[in-house]
Symmetry: C2
Subunit: 434 residues, 2 copies
């Protein structure tokens, strides 16, 4: 005889996903509902273990949509507050964000850069000569290089340097939100996988077959690997995995998952990248985006290493993977060819470490989504820049839960909650996507 033991737990707010969106949302939900039981669950063993902690850990306030600008700019202010006032060591380093651009690219984006400057973003435009002088390792011109021409590489004519940009420890950040959430009395349960959302009729008739199509329905919690969890509100913040919960109830997650790989290097031949004066206070390269293929790298100052990634768009499939892996060949026989032309110091340098995360890409406008159906809130579609917007996005999620139309972001700016929703979403497109 097989006895099936069904354990049912009840809470007020169930947050599915202990990544950065889940834990930051849980923190603001608990802040605003201090007497309520808020529980975060995650299938993995700790905070941010899905994709958050595997991120490049970059932040920037340079976005061409005002929505993304506001989300990131206020979140970066909050990061500073976390480190300076709340005492969290999230390794906030204002190394800057340097877009290397050809003449054509710069001209094409110029109006957008002016708009961003108008919102108050600090930015510096550097010309080729300045760049060459500051960054001896950089090759800006391939006029003499037949091979580079064959590769179709664009020259570097300009650099646009964002100041309120840099890197942080995404793992520490996620843990900081968890700690703040726990301090308020929030609960987390790791190793708890949500297998299914529970869709129930608002008025239950106790007839087999419910919910029927003619019934109004709402989400009443989730079935998990540790039993059923009933909740007044269920928050889906499972990143790329959100679709496995939302597809079955027929609710669009407005994103597609895509693997992104990171390669870490530590080699004396790259020392020059840590000896660059004039671009930031660290005397190192900023986070640097090449003019071609969105290859980007940054110094990780804590370990003296370089972290490198590449935003491969067309050609890299959308597919949800449980444990995506980096492919060494992708670096050595692909990204490398172009990288070494711009930065010959990478010649023959092999990655010492590599890993992969997954972006949850909203190809429509590349702006996060915070939307709801009865008794469920979905926070997602970070599009690869969710961490740097997490604080604002989480406040919007808590405001949506509270039925507010506007929310105050950190620093005092007001934000319209529906701007991140679907039906009354602000009509903008983000074009500074990496």
């Amino acid at each position: 005889m097989i006895l099936q033991l069904v354990i049912t737990m009840e809470c007020d707010i169930l947050v599915i996903g202990a990544g950065i969106f889940g834990l930051s949302s849980a923190f603001y939900l608990k802040t605003q509902n201090s007497g309520k039981r808020v529980v975060v669950i995650d299938r993995l063993g700790g905070p941010g273990q899905g994709n958050s902690a595997k991120s490049e850990g970059a932040f920037r306030n340079l976005f061409t949509s005002e929505t993304n600008f506001l989300l990131a700019d206020s979140t970066i202010d909050w990061f500073k507050h976390m480190e300076e006032d709340l005492g969290y060591h999230i390794n906030l380093s204002y190394i800057g964000y340097l877009f290397l651009l050809s003449e054509e690219q710069y001209t094409g984006q110029r109006a957008a850069f002016d708009r961003i400057r108008g919102w108050g973003a600090e930015m510096r435009v550097l010309e080729r000569e300045e760049l060459e002088e500051m960054i001896p390792d950089l090759v800006t011109d391939f006029a003499e290089d037949e091979e580079a021409e064959l590769l179709g590489l664009k020259p570097v004519d300009y650099g646009v340097l964002g100041r309120k940009c840099g890197s942080l420890d995404a793992d520490a950040l996620t843990r900081a939100y968890e700690e703040e959430f726990l301090k308020l009395g929030g609960e987390v349960s790791y190793g708890t996988e949500a297998s299914r959302l529970i869709l129930k009729p608002v008025e239950e008739l106790e007839i087999p077959g419910e919910p029927f199509v003619w019934q109004d329905t709402h989400i009443a919690g989730a079935e998990t690997s540790k039993g059923e969890i009933k909740a007044e509100t269920t928050v889906i913040a499972a990143g790329a995995w959100s679709e496995s919960l939302l597809d079955p109830i027929g609710f669009d997650s407005f994103m597609r998952p895509k693997k992104r790989q990171l390669f870490a290097f530590k080699d004396p031949r790259l020392d020059g990248l840590f000896k660059v004066e004039g671009l930031n206070d660290y005397g190192a390269m900023p986070l640097t985006v090449l003019p071609k293929a969105s290859i980007l790298f940054r110094p990780e100052l804590s370990e003296g290493s370089i972290w490198l990634g590449c935003a491969d768009n067309l050609g890299r499939r959308f597919k949800l993977e449980d444990d995506p892996k980096a492919e060494e060949d992708y670096y050595t026989n692909n990204v490398y060819h172009a990288l070494v032309k711009y930065f010959p110091c990478f010649k023959d340098v092999r990655p010492m470490n590599m890993w992969a995360d997954q972006y949850a890409i909203n190809s429509f406008d590349e702006i996060p989504v915070v939307t709801s159906i009865p008794r469920m809130i979905y926070v997602g579609a970070g599009s690869g820049s969710g961490i740097m917007k997490c604080d604002a996005v989480a406040r919007v999620a808590a405001a949506l839960h509270g039925g507010e139309e506007e929310v105050e972001l950190y620093g005092g700016r007001r934000f319209r909650v529906a701007d991140l929703g679907i039906h009354k979403r602000r009509a903008e497109r983000e074009s500074l996507v990496i």
Copy 2:
């Protein structure tokens, strides 16, 4: 020894999908490129065999977004032209489209209806008493019916009747486009399944591993079950199946597939639905949408039957199915409960036939998508109302191919091509969704 025979075919424009979007697009592409070789392929054995021919075959020009209104209104004019001038028997029946609404629903949609009327849509508002008089089979009020109250059914206080609405033979329509396309010298190849899009570098280097991330790429055709087909332009018009081609190249299809079921009835007890005076020229019920659960039915005049469907939203999963099937239980133990309250004539009447198709739902704005990447055009996301917009959507696709910014729809109205694209898409939301 296994000999692998690779057959390569070349054409100028390859259209993947011989459904309504594929064949109508192929027709306008061939019209505008008469000297070019345009080839349509489909995995199935004939036109429209995927979802098009399984459709409810309804059309309406009542849409709350001006984009959808223009697409449908001009397409309906074209249907008339097809039947009256081109001599196709597509069984165009202006039976009308009757939305039955509660007071609350009517009030909520009133501004939208006024806007639609402003665009020129002919519409008539009927009050409860008129409806009761015209449609003896209809129950409008459940005040005395405890069971109906338990089901949470809404009363019928108003009817909004669209005039330029009705039904057609979707299969015949698809075949008509095919015939017109073939007349121009277009080619079709059935039983030809596209397995993969061919993504190539613009400048081929003939090095293993291409395309590399730093290369500009474009689509050069498709691998199919009958060999490789090289094309100058590849048009993806595979409806719900588009994602199986687009996900692997990392291009968003902006839709999720969802099964929709249809049930056909032929029974003397339903004869009253064919004896309704004053709503259309046929003395029959219009296509009728109930106030709850988007249950809808229409008379199929050619066979004296009733076709019934239901737009189950939350609770019906998003999932691509190769051959979706209707579930009898879905009618008898679900839709039926509510239907029989509004129309008791359905009591104990069983479906004589049932089938299912798949909607390709763009939950973002419920407006079709016509967009491109180099040498590829994607025409999709019909959201369940693609057939009634097919002619306009196909003209937009051909205009996009031709590099035009505007296109003339049938009847002379101008339409901005980018309105159906992604990056400069017109910001509207359709709210009259079934």
